[in-house]
Each structure stands twice: as structure tokens, then as C-alpha cells.
Amino acid sequence: MHVEPFTDRNVSEHSAYYYVDIENYPVTGWDKFKQVVKRSLKGELFVGLWVVMREMIKFDIHTVKYPLEKLPIGPRYRAVHKLLRLWESGFERCIGCGLCEKICISDCIRMDTRIDENSRKEVTEYSINLGRCIFCGYCAEVCPELAIVHGGRYENASEQRAHFVIKDDMLTPLDFLTAGQQEEYPGFGAITPHEDERVSKTPLAY
């Protein structure tokens, strides 16, 4: 269906909206009687019977047997977080800037950093309290390195809230990375294609 005629919400010949033709309620006894006869003999009940019978014969079952079958979820779905690694070196992408911790509106990200022997900043601890996380996606959006992203793992029932979201659980395992199975993140917070052309210069003076 074309969307255009529905943008005009006023009832006119240009729009797709129209007043539903509802008959007035019958007032006199004779009118009520006529309505009853009309409704009884019009066969509306059989239309209903036919519709459900048709669906039964077509047998177009829409049930998804959930634990056995799963529906695909959208690429921008915001489920449990993942921490990604750099493709070639295998180092962690996270530079420990703390922006995610800062922007988190439910204050559920906690990270600890130190300077390691190579004078690089190293993230020693990174955890997200899933009991408080509202999955707003700000952490993924603010991350300058595309290190923390939202994954597609939505089955996060567990005995402990802390499961899934300590650093070792979220970080891409090294063997997984060398097997080339870390997906470059196309989802929420990822850089959209042709981003360069869409960037305009910040005006310096108004």
C-alpha cells in the first residue's frame, strides 16, 4: 500500500481516510425487527465459520517452536554487551577512556585501569550490572574505538546476575578471533556506510 495518502489525516477526496458508514440504531420496534431479520438471514455467522475453516485447510501455521527454532533478530538489536578485539593484533580495543562508564545513565558500568609495563593503559576490570542496565545503547554509541557493542544474545536467564557481563565473558576469545569469527559490528553505534560524505563541518561562527 502506498503511504502518501495516509499522511493527510483530514477526510477529503485526496486522503485515504473516510468516515465509516454506520447506520443509526433502530428506534421503533419494527426497525429493530427488521434489523434482527436482516442479520439473521444475511449469513454473517457462516462467513465467520468459513474464515476459520479456510485457515484450517490452508494449514499455514505461524507457530515458532521457540527453543528449537528462533526468529532472526535485527542487526541493531540491543542485547547483552560484547567487548571486541582488534583484528590483526588481537589486542583489546578498549583503551580505558571511561566514556561508557561516564555516560551510562543507570550507572551500571564499572571499570578499573592501570598503566602496564609497556606504558599502555590496560583495562584490568570491566563489568556491567545487568540488574540495572536498561540497554539504552549509549555505551556502544559513545565508544570511540567501537570496543563495546551490543550483541544478539538475548537468552540471558541465569542463576547469577553477574553472569554474561564480567569482562572475560564479554571479550571475544582469542581462538575465536583467529578463526576469523569476530563479526565486525554492523549494529547499534557502528559506523554507518558512507559516513564521510554525510559529515558536515561544524560551523565556527553564527
Binding site: L45, G48, L49, V51, M53, E55, I61, H62, T63, K65
Partner: protein
Amino acid sequence: MDVAFIIETIVKIVVILLVFSALAGFGTYFERKVLAFMQRRLGPMHVGPYGLLQVAADGIKLFTKEDIIPQNVVKPIFKLAPVITAATAFMAAAAIPFWPEFTVFGYTVHPIVSDINVGILYVMAVMAIGLYGPLLGGMASANKFSLISAARSAAVFISYEVITGLALLAPLMMVGSLSLIDINNYQSAGITHWIAWSQPVAFILFWIAAFAETGRTPFHLVANDHEIIDGFGTEYSGMRWGLFFIGEYANMFFISFVMAIIFLGGYGDGSIAGAFQLLMKVAFFFFFFLWTRAAWPDIRPDQLMWLCWKVLMPIAVLNVVITGAVILFKLKGGM
């Protein structure tokens, strides 16, 4: 009294009890499946192949559940009510011929517990007593939803007794007997002799009333889930609730048998083919109960009363009068 007769009767009673208790269970399975398919779902699938053992799972659950008697109920009546529903449903089966008579090892079996000469009157009367199940259960439950349901069931069942009675009167005047076997034999000459053709109005009226008598969907207001929870069944759990359920489904099967025998020729001439036709007819009526549940909305109690007293009853009375007049003129012509 003959010992063989007593043993035969007891065996028949046990067979009917077992078969229709099991059928009531499978009725719930068929209902779930048919409703699911009509709503593009799969229905029960996990217990057994295609969910067939769901019935067993439900049975185990109902039997092993704690028998809860709430605090403020009237205990003896509360305990008795489900038994009334189940018992009257099965008592009604005593006068229904489920199969034409057949011979096993030279012994003729009449698959009817008792061919009394007031058969259909007995069936309708005992089914009418079934009203006391929901009525007493609802009133004894100390629950307002149950009470509403009890009031509704009293109103609906008693009102629709009038329709079933008047609708049956016309075919009975033609047959001249109340025995279901006589009614069946009246139509044994074939499909053209079915009473449904000579009494279409009575057939449809009785069919409509059957929905009210069994409390099925267009007239499901006795236990309407979305208004009054489960009506009279709200406070029940475990096997007491299960007895209500078995009673309801057994009633559906028995009223289907009654409709098939009175209006659609029953088992016809008594051959095996006729017997299987009877089962097909019963299966159709049972399926129609499920079909309407998927397709039609429920109506309000006041609309149900309006339908009964202002529409169906006048039509039924007219039907009786016209049938009587026609029979009278035929008699005059014959004389």
C-alpha cells in the same frame, strides 16, 4: 432376574463409563488442536507424538493435585456439585443406543443400557438435572464470580429446556414414540427419510438449544473466562474440577448422539455402514461445537434470554402447531 442380563448390563455400564471418560479426555485434545489450527497455531506438540499424550499428562496432573476446599464454602455441597455434573451426564447415556445391535458368538448384544419406552424424555430430564452441578457448586463456593455463574446457569438451562422440549415435540408427534430406537427405526429407510428434512425448524432449534444446554461458545456465559474467570469452577481444583470437565465433554458427546439419532437418521438400517455413519454424524456435531468456538463471539446473558423467549420459543410453538395441523389433515385424508 436373569443373571446373564445383570452381568451384561454391568459390563455395558462399565464400557460406556470408560469409553466416554476417555473420549472426554481426547475431546479436550481435539478441541485444543482444532482451535489451534483455526487460529494458525500448532496446539499441544510436546507430550508424545503430535501431543497425543497431553491427555495423559493432564490426567496425571488433575489426579495428583491437592484437593483444596476453600475456607468459607459450604463443604458438603461444594464436594457434591462436580459429582452431580459428571453423574447426570453419564446417567443420561443409559437410554442412548450407541450402535445397532450385533451378534458375537451367537449372543445378541443390544448396545443400549436400557431401552425404556420414555427414552428421550429420560435423557432430557437427566441432562436437565445436570443444572444442579453448576448451580450448587457456584452457590456453595463463597465466590462472587461463582455466584454470578450459578445465577446465569439457572437462567440459561431452565430457559433452554423450554426450547429443547418444544423443538422435540414436533418430531415426536410424527414418530409417536419416545424411545430413541423407535425414532431411529422411523428413519431407517434412508437419507430421504431423515427427520431433519421434514422438521428442519425443529432440528435447528434443537441444535441451537444444545449449545445452551452444554454451555458451549456462543452461549458460554456460564463460565465465561473473560468476564467471570471460570464461573462455577473458579474455586475448584484437581479432580473435582476435572469432574466438571468430564461432565461437560461427555454431555457434548451425548447430545451429539441424541441429535444424530433424532434428526439425522441415527444408525439407519442397523448395518455396519449405518453404524459408522452414526459415528461420522456424531463426529460432525462434536466438531461443530469446536468450530463455532473458534469462529463466533459470545453473546450477553440478556441477549441469550431475549433469543430464547422472544425468538426461539414462538418459532418452536408455531412449529408444533403447524406440525400438529399437518398430521391432523393427513389423518383426515387417510380416513
